[in-house]
Amino acid sequence: MLSIIIFSALAIVAVVSGIAVFRVDSMARATYALAVSFVAVGVMLLMFDLDYIGVITILMMVMEMAIMAIYMIMFMGMNPALMPMSMVHNNRWSAILATGTFLLLAGGAVLVPWPARSGSVGTEDLTMALGEALMGSKMLVMLTVSPILFATIVAALVLANPRGRYDRWGDNLQRATPDDPQQGGLGK
């Protein structure tokens, strides 16, 4: 019983702050509303005994939203003030589509006869088991995900960085220290 109350409270927090993301008047509030939504979902995962995944979700999402807030302000140009804003297009169709999808999904969730639980949570350390699965029988997943993540890092840097090494070190790479707008700590 208690778990249902806690879960419902978290669910309300998650959904309401999710809605707030598109309703509040300030970039910072929108971003941190999303962070709150993620934290609520992270705590729900903790309720499913998913300790590691739950805490990791909280960790990653708060970090990501802290960075996201900067991008929001950088790109959208807002003073630290509560600025009424509306940046929506085809609002009506979006709302209809979203509501339709919700009815479909929720209907499915309620009506589908879900199978009974198979297997059970062992007494063993789940995180350890997850790690062993990752490094053992399911290593292929890790082998796929890691190069994708690495490629993402490289690709994102290439896309976002405006200055190549010839801009920094000169046409013949002849400079002793790079010509940067802001000097780094090493001069590399």
């Binding site: 950088m74 003030a81 509306s86 707008p181």
Partner: protein, 403 residues
């Protein structure tokens, strides 16, 4: 009631004081700082941090207006005083303590002052706190750029319609291309006239993108006409060689205090300040010489400081030269030089003494400072200005300079 009083008595033992130095009253400010240290009081970094607003000297019109603005930003319980001569310092402090302890008067002050939110010190410690409403002058015209409309530029004159979105009466920041090729908001932020470790009376009005200064204009707020302080190193008709040396050591260590404090090394800055205060209060120079030398050695040894100050040079096509320095020198080199020179001056017992050169500041050289700080970030700009060791008392009589 007894509880309130005893709490108040405890609170005033660690009063935080926002010191405003009027150009020309450097010695008074130093006297105030040494008295603060003696009592265990603290220099406030911003009005929100302060219990006391203490003005050293008699400010001119602009600086006076800025002080009133600061006064309105103190959270309270608060007290305000001004000291002109060094002899006034101790009695003033006693009076300030009594004022802070006066519960009834503080209560009255709290009840009568405006309850409106105060303006942030970042954008209101400015030359004309009411500039926006008085004259919609060209220098305050800001092109606006609404995110929803494509480059809808318009001048933000104050006589324009008020239906533009201005939350809290603050116009939105406008955009501008930044050095990384991204369009970014430009914030107009004045540095000075009241900041920790900042030359008296100087105002650098910056256009900031992030914390990079993309444009700067320099202004100056002078002392009241007809009143003259004694400058950073003091002036007198008769100067003995010993006095000259003393002045030089005070001046040099004061400059070192500023650079050390701005580089985030408060304990070294504190040592330099104690040396300065001891010399000012009459300790024999030979007695502080060892301390100066050990501080200089400490500063030279610190790799972290050298690394942190690396590349911070007042150069910008030798604007520094025209301000009065021989050559462009890094902040670190200058700091070491000051401390060495102070050590030499303190040891020196020769009969003649040639004081070290500091730039003679003229009103027109002020504008060169803008060139020195443009393109740097705020932290570097603060260090560059501190490394110039400006003595604005030389300008005290020249009146306010508008940017």
């Amino acid at each position: 009631m007894g509880l309130r009083e005893s709490a108040a008595r405890r609170a005033v033992q660690v009063t935080h004081v926002l010191v405003v130095e009027v150009p020309g009253w450097g010695l008074t400010r130093m006297r105030v700082e040494s008295e603060l240290a003696r009592r265990g009081w603290t220099l406030a970094t911003s009005p929100a941090d302060a219990d006391v607003l203490l003005v050293c000297g008699s400010p001119g019109q602009q600086l006076d207006a800025a002080c009133s603005q600061l006064w309105s930003q103190l959270p309270g319980p608060r007290a305000r005083a001004s000291v002109v001569s060094a002899d006034d310092v101790v009695p003033t402090f006693t009076r300030l303590t009594a004022e802070l302890l006066d519960e009834a008067a503080q209560q009255l002050d709290a009840n009568t002052r405006s309850r409106e939110p105060v303006s942030a010190s970042g954008d209101s410690v400015m030359a004309q706190p009411v500039a926006h409403s008085e004259h919609g002058s060209d220098e305050h015209a800001m092109p606006m750029d609404m995110p929803t409309h494509e480059s809808m530029d318009m001048d933000m004159d104050m006589d324009m319609d008020m239906d533009m979105p201005m939350p809290g009466g603050i116009p939105l920041a406008s955009g501008g291309p930044d050095r990384d090729g991204l369009e970014m908001d430009v914030l107009h932020v004045p540095l000075g006239p009241v900041l920790p470790n900042w030359p008296a009376g100087l105002v650098v009005r910056c256009a900031l993108q992030g914390d990079v200064i993309v444009h700067a204009e320099v202004g100056f707020m002078s002392a009241a006409a007809g009143s003259l302080g004694v400058g950073l190193a003091g002036a007198g008709s008769f100067r003995s060689v010993e006095d000259e040396r003393r002045r030089a050591v005070i001046r040099l260590s004061d400059a070192a205090v500023n650079v050390l404090a701005l580089s985030g090394w408060s304990s070294a800055a504190g040592r330099a300040r104690r040396i300065r205060d001891d010399v000012a209060s009459g300790t024999a120079l030979i007695d502080v010489a060892t301390r100066i030398e050990s501080l200089a050695a400490r500063v030279k040894r610190s790799l972290l400081l050298r690394w942190g100050l690396k590349g911070i040079v007042a150069d910008a096509a030798s604007g520094a030269q025209r301000i009065g320095y021989g050559e462009a020198q890094s902040a670190h080199a200058r700091l070491v030089e000051w401390l060495d020179e102070a050590g030499r001056s303190a040891r020196d017992t020769a009969h003649s003494y040639d004081p070290p050169d500091f730039p003679e500041l003229e009103p027109k050289s002020l504008q060169l400072i803008a060139g020195l700080v443009t393109g740097t970030d705020v932290a570097s700009a603060r260090l560059i200005i501190a490394s110039l060791a400006l003595d604005t008392s030389l300008l005290a009589a020249s009146g306010d300079v508008h940017s």
